[in-house]
């Protein structure tokens, strides 16, 4: 269950089928009566994703807001992919929800540019305690043109390099610290007849993680920030070409084996070969731990699942402490809301509330809230959650997944081009050129 909740935004495949059907309905529904507040009665509607575990926690926070703060909030939840369509249409209409769940980044930026989202900067400036209660690198993922438009409402999902300790021990190998280590490990494991790195290449977002980390390590976060800001020629920065050629190098060295193009993450392909010792490493979002715990519990309980940060690259400009992934999900306030004050009060009082934070931790999330080390240490899986927490806390920069940070059309195109790069149909230079032309 948690695996699903941790998982993705742009998750393709199955859910999309449902979308096709639901879209038509939701488009119609959104024109009509999707029930947000009437003017000025103080009632607010909160939109979030359907999630067995999180919805309970969200309901509790809404109840405590209604009883303790005298609010009048209601929660409405939607499936992942239909939600995107529905939110898009609703924010373009007078029936927008007062508070809405989102992923930050380019997606939110589009709504901000269309003046649909309330600026939260004044609220955070008046209330420095509130601002300091969230981890800065995570809060920044909802910062657009220097202003804040969302507050973190759940756990952080950085990408890490997972590995199979038993396989490493058998080969007498240590987890990689540098890129050179990684490349030599590829040869080591090929010699052992083990696929060096598992990759669920039928889903382009798994390949994207490699591109994100490589570019961050080699060129620093600024290179992608220029790309996101649409600066001319940003895609053709030498660091982009260098990062993408590293991917080609990996593929040609046989790091991902031969069949990665049809391995799926949703069906458990990549995670299972890691757990079975058929692959040695797997670059994946932090949800991989919960995923493995659910699908291959013996593997995790034996203590064979290991994790390290992405390797550093000699001569790279980026800080090796930087992370990429999904900083968190956010609650934002709609600019059209008739009850903005109440909506702002909801997100400013509930999201750093100790009970809410504890509930998230108990559900296996690592909240983006400052000073929760002790709470994490006392909860289950503390070794892992504490590591994730420290990883993000110490990170100078947390780059949001590119497919969320770029405008939707560019992101879709990029994912296709990336798959072609991994298939060897495009060279690094061709990838950069095609992105620049798009």
């Amino acid at each position: 269950m948690l695996r699903r909740s941790f998982k993705r935004r742009q998750r393709p495949q199955r859910a999309l089928i449902a979308t096709g059907l639901v879209v038509a309905t939701s488009l119609l529904a959104a024109c009509g009566t999707s029930g947000p507040s009437d003017a000025g009665d103080g009632g607010i509607t909160v939109w979030a994703l359907q999630d067995d575990v999180l919805n309970e926690i969200e309901k509790q926070s809404i109840e405590s807001f209604n009883t303790e703060e005298g609010g009048n909030a209601t929660l409405q939840t939607f499936g992942n992919d239909p939600y995107k369509e529905k939110l898009r249409v609703a924010l373009g209409s007078p029936n927008a929800p007062d508070v809405f769940f989102n992923w930050g980044g380019g997606n939110l930026a589009e709504y901000v540019q269309a003046d649909r989202v309330a600026d939260l900067t004044p609220m955070l400036e008046e209330n420095p305690d509130l601002k300091q209660s969230f981890l800065p690198s995570v809060l920044d993922a909802a910062k657009i043109d220097g202003k804040y438009y969302g507050l973190p409402m759940r756990g952080m999902q950085p990408v890490a390099l997972f590995y199979n300790k038993a396989v490493f021990e058998k080969a007498g190998a240590e987890p990689p610290e540098t890129w050179a280590d990684l490349m030599s490990l590829v040869d080591t494991f090929k010699g052992e007849g083990i696929q060096p790195i598992a990759l669920a290449g039928s889903q382009a977002w798994t390949e994207l993680m490699w591109a994100e980390y490589l570019l961050d390590r080699i060129g620093g976060p600024e290179v992608f920030q220029d790309i996101r800001d649409g600066k001319p020629g940003a895609w053709q920065h030498p660091a982009v070409v260098e990062s993408m050629s590293k991917i080609t190098e990996l593929v040609e060295a046989g790091a991902f084996g031969k069949n990665y193009a049809s391995v799926g993450y949703d069906v458990g392909g990549a995670s299972t070969i890691l757990a079975q010792g058929k692959a040695a490493m797997h670059l994946m979002g932090s949800w991989e731990y919960v995923n493995q715990l659910g699908q291959s519990p013996e593997f995790v309980e034996r203590g064979d699942l290991g994790w390290v940060p992405f390797p550093s690259i000699a001569g790279g400009k980026g800080d090796p402490a930087n992370v990429v992934g999904n900083p968190t999900n956010f609650y934002s306030v709609s600019a059209q809301s008739q009850n903005q004050d109440s909506a702002k009060k909801f997100i400013s009082t509930q999201l750093n509330d100790p009970e809410y934070v504890q509930a998230l931790i108990d559900a296996g999330d690592v909240p983006a809230v400052s000073g929760v080390e002790d709470k994490l240490a006392n909860a289950e899986n503390s070794e892992y959650t504490t590591w994730i927490y420290e990883l993000v806390k110490e990170a100078p920069n947390f780059q949001l997944s590119w497919d969320q940070d770029l405008p939707a059309d560019e992101a879709t195109f990029m994912l296709t081009q990336l798959q072609k790069l991994f298939l060897g149909e495009l060279t690094a230079q061709q990838f950069a050129d095609s992105m620049a032309q798009h």
Partner: protein, 293 residues
Amino acid sequence: MSHTAHHRPSAWYALPAFGFFGLFAVLPMILVVYLSFTEWRGLELPALTGTDNWSRLFGDPEAHASLWRTLLFTVLAWAAQTPIALLIGVWAAGRQRNRAVLSSLFFLPLLLSTAAIALLWQALLDPNFGVTQAAGGPLADLLFLGDPAIALYTVVFVLTWQYVPFHTLLYQAAARTIPASLYDAATIDGAGRFKQFWHITLPQLRYTVVTSSVLILVGTMTMFETVLILTGGGPGTATRILPLYMYETGFAGFEMGYASTMAVLLVLFGTALSLAVIRVTRFRKMSSQQEGL
């Protein structure tokens, strides 16, 4: 003959059908044509951009490639399904008991939903845990869904597996209406099984071939759920047919205007194709093949 007009039901009976058709087919089609001349990202109102989308479509190499793939895909699906369905249909039309039992088994895929079938084959062909891996041998080295040179044929195979039973049913029903006297006469004249099939069965099934072909051609051209689930258009863009490209543009990239342009193109191609089939086969001039019987 004047009494036939008299006995026809009132035209009002057609109202619900026309109402539904207008509301759910004609109206959306008009809207899509309108949207194809706009830019609409879902947030603002659609903005008219003239023929921008159309010139983009003509200059978009990805669109050309996916249109070509769609046509290839449609032709392959037709060429694979028609002979198999025809032969099994004629065979299943026989009244023997073993044929009845085997055909009812053979019609099983008809009971499964498209999504279930695609997921089933995805699991069977999984490159790590699929049946092909368990079987070992040369089969295990073939990446049915992961090799760009093979993936499109894999999808055609899955579609064939899914839709042949339906078309078999058409042929079976049609073959059973062929009068036995024709075969009796042929037998007396000394025609063997093959000659009987070639000179009696096949000509008698002409109209069924046309019906089934139109269904296959138009159905495959607009089909996309199997591809979406089975390969997601991949590896790379090896199986990205036009309907899938349209879907991704509209619902992943949120370029509704451009996606509508592709939708209009698909409508045009689909209509042209079914008109062409009907014209080539002179469906309109069809008359009963059983005159005098």
